[in-house]
Amino acid sequence: MSSINRKWIFLLVCLSLLILLPPVSQTLDESYLISSMTRVLIFAMAAISLDLIVGYGGMVSFGHAAFVGLGAYTAAILSFHINDGSPLFTMPFAYDGTNQLWAVLLVAIGVAALVATLTGMISLRTHRIHFIMITLAFAQMLYYLFISLDYYGGEDGLPMMGRNQIPLIDSGDDTSFYYFCLLVLILFIILARRLVGSHFGRVLQGCKYNEKRMQTLGFNTYRYRLTAYVIAAMGAAVAGVLLANKTEYVDPGLFSWHLSGELLVMVILGGMGSIYGAVIGAIVYLLLEQIFSAYTEHWMILLGPVLILVVIYARHGIYGYLQKLNQNA
């Protein structure tokens, strides 16, 4: 069997497992599994978007959670206003918010793109460690901004009155919502894989390997990197919208550097620069978290050292390891 076939079989098995999860967990009477796997799927989307810039563009953003937070708050705020009856803004026209998922997604993507363009224009002038730090700083800025927005709950966060409406789907039903998220994740994977294989993707990777060379070849690397940064932010915002819908609650913690760090961990753990790795990383990280926390409330004391070991010994992540197995087999 060729290694390419094995890869597809592996992916198909994973997909079938994910599809079969709801009926199986219901039979086993463990329906909390559906809810926690929905969370995993959503984080996988965020991790994919981060992998685009970290794994393919070489831009280590330590503030990616900010865009997840922006997406989540967009959903919560729009829903808050439609329930509250107060207009979100009155100029240039009155707008009361919305509860329709597609509209929420559009707004969230727009907001994320705008913020990413503005912050990216400054951040991308810097490189390496400065880039890490400035993305962190921008995320912190948003974190404090949302803490101070008392109208939207400030530090306590903002609950959502029920999920957004999705055409043809009962979004309130956890199983339907799970399948919807699975669908979006598959869409994410397809889009991301196309993107990294496209002309744009090749330029992005070139910028990662040797930006100076790319410039002397004639690429305006700044603009290409900025575009990638904005695309990644839009992806994270979509994940944020779904996350808010899943928990029906948002709080400034979504912008925290802790979450940004966790997203990076997922990407690295799974194996960066492969898209599939980001998905695997999200699954494994969140599962580890659950398993450890089942044993002890102090699960982070285990997770911390595991991370360190992964960084020191498993440099290409889980997907890299699987690929190696596949090639050797």
């Binding site: 496209s198 744009f200 090749r202 330029v203 070139g206 100076k212 002397t216 070849l217 004639g218």
Partner: protein
């Protein structure tokens, strides 16, 4: 009236007070292979980086095809037709030979804000990349990762990449660096085949290659050009013999 492709007027560059290039006046005629030689630390690489735009010049002007490009960004110069190779091989080790070349061609072929179709299936890029690879003796290596090539082949790829997109000016920074006599003879032949079709500024230490290839030579010593002329003129030049060639010939 000779046809001047590029000229510099009193181009200067210093690092932290240290003079790298002083009042550089260089004229490249269209179609010539112009060698820039000089002892180590004479400012040759600095000059190339100034022309390509990687280093901003402190003063002076660069005129290319009648346009002042002194303040033009690196990528814009490349798209305008100034293409360079690096002394330290700068191919993309993680990509195949063809992908390296395709990427270089892509830079000159419209924009790359194309997000959906697979770049690897782009017929136009692939054909061009194939041609370029074959032209530079890499016909056996199309699908090898550039990082796995032998050093000489890497140098060939390095130069081949600068030819993508039909530039009008090639800035070759020590293309023969570290490849030994055999490789250097092969690369000399490959470069000789370009004569007349491109204007080449050749920075090189390998004097056999310089004498075999150059139409004209400029000698750079401590940031200043002390002589420009044909191979014979340079060989006969007393100042050059004193400053530089005396040790070699």
């Amino acid at each position: 009236m000779p046809d001047i492709l590029l000229s510099t007027e009193n181009l200067c560059k210093s690092y932290a007070g240290l003079r790298a290039n002083h009042n550089l006046n260089l004229q490249l005629l269209r179609g010539e292979i112009h060698a820039l030689i000089g002892p180590n630390g004479a400012g040759k690489s600095t000059a190339v980086a100034q022309l390509s735009g990687e280093l901003a010049s402190d003063s002076g002007r660069i005129i290319f095809e009648g346009r002042d490009i002194t303040r033009m960004a690196v990528h814009a110069r490349a798209r305008a037709g100034v293409s360079r190779s690096f002394q330290v091989t700068s191919v993309f080790d993680e990509m195949s030979v063809l992908d390296n070349l395709a990427l270089a061609i892509q830079a000159h072929h419209g924009h790359s804000y194309r997000f959906w179709r697979a770049a690897k299936k782009d017929r136009f890029l692939n054909t061009q990349a194939n041609t370029l690879a074959d032209q530079f003796g890499l016909e056996q290596a199309h699908d090898l990762l550039a990082g796995t090539l032998a050093h000489g082949e890497k140098r060939q790829l390095e130069v081949a990449m600068t030819l993508a997109g039909n530039p009008s000016l090639l800035l070759l920074d020590e293309p023969m660096a570290g490849i030994g006599p055999g490789g250097s003879k092969k690369l000399t032949e490959l470069l000789d085949a370009l004569r007349g079709r491109y204007t080449v500024l050749l920075v090189e230490h390998d004097m056999d290659a310089v004498f075999a290839l150059a139409d004209r030579i400029s000698v750079l010593v401590y940031g200043e050009i002390i002589a420009t002329g044909s191979v014979d003129e340079i060989r006969r030049d007393k100042k050059v013999q004193q400053a530089y060639l005396g040790e070699v010939c």
